[in-house]
Amino acid sequence: MTNEMPDLVDIQVIRRGIKSRKRMDNIFIGVGLGSLAFSLGVLLVLIGKLLVEGGKRLFGQGIAGLWNFLTSVPDSNPEVAGIKIAIIGSFCVILLTAIIAVPLGIGAGIFLEEYAGRGDLPIPFPKWMSNIIEINISNLAGVPSIIYGLLAMGLFKYQLRLGETIATAGLTLALLILPIIIVTTREAIKAVPQALREGVYAIGASRWQMIWDHILPASAGGILTGLIVGLSRAIGEAAPLVTIGALTFITFPPPFPFSPKLVGEGLHGPFDWLFSPFTVMPIQVFDWVSRPRPEFSVVNAGAAAVVLVVMTLSMNALAIYLRIYFRKRVKW
């Protein structure tokens, strides 16, 4: 054999190579763990601080105290002031936001992903148009929320004369989270394998049947996650609502959504709640934080912030649960 074995490089060299790669590996694990620990640590410290500060108000007087805080209206006495109106306000605003943004967002997502750019539409909708829309939607997702507030102030509040109402707030936040919902819907639909579409077509289904019966169920997990992430962003927004003039002190809740019309109430029957003045949780927290008295700026603000965090986290937990639930059902 003339061919010599590739030189008998010292086994040491190889070992050193392996060792250095392993070291890199470990360094990366360390860096990764470090960043995880850092961000989690900051979060925990923040929540812990809020709990310590707000705990006196939340848990100081047992269940009765907590209940009292959750069901009392704002007051200038920090011990009796509560967040009932803000919780109901947040709930109503988010309900309207969802009613508007969910069908619009999912619809737009389906259209852009499944219809746009195909030749067989009744109206021509070329690919380049959907590309332009795609770029714009991605950009919109990054626009600061205060800009949406300014837009809403001009358009909804003054132009459409909706005033400082839940309707204005819901429309504003719906606009704010539409890009998020559209983008996540498209991503979720994109993740469905092409073979599924072809298979469904092959047995003679129409496009709508294919989407409704197969694409949507298969992508429901991803779409729902996007929805809930969008909505939990909306629930924490204060800036655009301050811009459109959400109130700070209000002691009466809006009428119950879609409640039947009662004698002597507003002009819109079941829709009265839409035209009612309101406040929301982040605004309540914001107001209390800037007060001079620590009973407001530390204790009550901390307690309300804890409630807000709990609301957001439970929405996110729901998102995770739904994702797992739907993923289990998808089998291919």
């Binding site: 200038s76 429309l171 109130l247 002190f249 934080v289």
Partner: protein, 332 residues
């Protein structure tokens, strides 16, 4: 009807309902908006008023004096909270829309200049010294440059953000021109941030509303301001703010009541209630309340007689005392 068409239907019903301009319950609600400095006072009287008059609803927003006047002159609110007199431009806006108003002084605020408790040298400062520190382009960055004999300690400044009425008043009173200030200082709209800053900084000097000092007396020291007329250093106590000796940093706070709204039963009742109960309720509201006699003077000579317009002619007036304002309002 499947899920998606139902969503579309709800959305379109909402859209139709939204087009109807809404004046729901406008007759039962007293709407207030404006200054964050006046807010605690309005909140305190509004909360108590509603407890005693369950049929009437009062809402208070905090969009700042300027934005508050904008809404007020648009006819959107019944009462505007203001930490300064109405300006020329706002007077024009109001008269263009046919809005007439009754100007009621409801309380006072004393802007307080504070230093760190370890600061043993600066017990009093003159307006001239403050002006040299705060005027635009000022190069004073050490206490020894403020007054001969002060120690060599770096001077660090904390003050109101440029969007606040506090900033406007302080610059006008000290520098002589509204909004004229050096800009190399720690500015915040949240006065609690300024409190923390001065409390941690031996060489710190800051200014903010009196209530923030009152709540943090253990962490801060108030500086007596030398009254330019009497040449005596005066501390910002409630008495000194009211009797007109704490000058030029005392400022009156106002309610501007829409003259037409004032004829509504519930608004009249609310103003009467406020003028009678303010001395008791204002105590917990972070403002310096007037004496009962002064409130009755405002009520009898200004509100009851429906004296419309302003006595300030659109100008900020430094050093106005309660008696002075009431006398001029009555003569109007």
């Amino acid at each position: 009807m499947n899920f998606s068409t139902r969503g579309l239907l709800v959305a379109s019903v909402l859209a139709v309902a939204s087009v109807i301009p809404s004046q729901v319950m406008a007759q039962q609600v007293i709407k207030m908006d404006g200054s964050s400095t006046v807010f605690p006072f309005s909140e305190a009287v509004a909360a108590e008023f509603q407890k005693q008059n369950p049929g009437v609803r009062v809402t208070v927003g905090v969009s700042g004096t300027g934005a508050g006047f904008r809404k007020f002159c648009n006819g959107e609110t019944d009462i505007s909270n203001a930490s300064r007199p109405i300006s020329k431009r706002e007077m024009e806006a109001c008269s263009k829309n046919g809005i007439r108003y009754i100007e009621l002084p409801v309380a006072f605020d004393g802007l307080t200049v504070v230093v760190n408790p370890q600061n043993t040298w600066a017990t009093s400062l003159t307006v001239e010294e403050l002006k040299r520190i705060w005027e635009p382009g000022s190069k004073i960055n050490n206490w020894k440059d403020v007054r001969p004999g002060f120690p060599d300690v770096p001077l660090r400044l904390y003050g109101a953000g440029t969007a606040s009425g506090t900033f406007d008043y302080f610059t006008e009173a000290i520098v002589g021109k509204a909004k004229a200030s050096r800009s190399d200082y720690t500015a915040s709209e949240d006065d609690n941030v300024l409190v923390q800053g001065v409390a941690r900084d031996r060489g710190g000097l800051g200014y903010f509303g009196k209530s923030y000092y009152d709540e943090n007396k253990d962490k801060l020291k108030a500086v007596a301001i030398v009254n330019p007329k009497t040449n005596r250093p005066v501390l910002p106590t409630d008495e000194n703010v009211l009797n007109g000796t704490y000058q030029p940093l005392s400022r009156p706070l106002f309610w501007y009541v829409n003259a037409e709204a004032a004829n509504r039963d519930e608004v009249t009742k609310f103003v009467l209630f406020t003028m009678r109960n303010a001395p008791a309720l204002g105590k917990k509201a972070d403002v310096v309340t007037l004496s009962p006699a002064d409130y009755s003077a405002v009520l009898n000579n200004v509100f009851i007689k429906r004296k419309v317009g302003t006595v300030f002619g659109g100008e900020q007036q430094i050093g106005a005392t309660v008696k002075d304002i009431i006398a001029r309002e009555a003569k109007q």
